[in-house]
Subunit: 111 residues, 2 copies
């Protein structure tokens, strides 16, 4: 059995699947992206509530990583006091097909 | 901005995306699945070669987890000496759309 879609012969750092996973290949990372698809813009404490069990420093590191990779961005939504929220960039919104296929598989096989 | 596909309102353990990520939401796990799509059945040492940088005990744990979740299975391909190889089950092959969307995103945004 061989897979049916095109993939470069050279794996490692050149494989687009590995490149994607370098950016979002971690459970919490994809759940942060999921929340932003589902709820729209979110504050740090919103993530803390929906991602039950995540340590604040882990959440902070995952958010920072996604910002650095331009998957999400931050903006102030009030000045007094200053409060920030996170939202998906175009690059982040382009992950919708990934979320969709994860959802479909989970509905069928997630038990 | 709201995402366009259906997802249950109740997140946490009921969310199909989270359920999928419980099973394959780890970088190495999806790269093991990728290798099996690309190459077909693989031996332990084949994974060690293609997944450069993975520690043998990590690889062993990931393989065991995927076997327990029925995503991959093991069979003997010679008796003398006994040698085993891993292959994708139906449940594992059903991950093809996930791999495809990861590939597409990586080609466009993986840099």
């Amino acid at each position: 059995m061989r897979y049916l879609f095109l993939m470069p012969k050279s794996f490692g750092s050149h494989c687009p699947v590995a490149k994607t996973l370098d950016i979002v290949g971690e459970r919490w990372t994809l759940l942060i992206v999921r929340d932003l698809f589902f709820y729209g813009p979110r504050r740090f404490k919103d993530f803390e509530e929906s991602l039950a069990g995540i340590a604040p420093n882990t959440l902070s590191a995952r958010i920072k990583g996604l910002e650095e990779k331009d998957v999400i961005a931050k903006r102030l939504y009030t000045d007094h006091p200053p409060r920030a929220e996170y939202y998906l960039t175009d690059k982040g919104r382009a992950l919708e097909p990934v979320l969709k296929t994860l959802l479909e598989w989970g509905k069928r096989y997630g038990g």
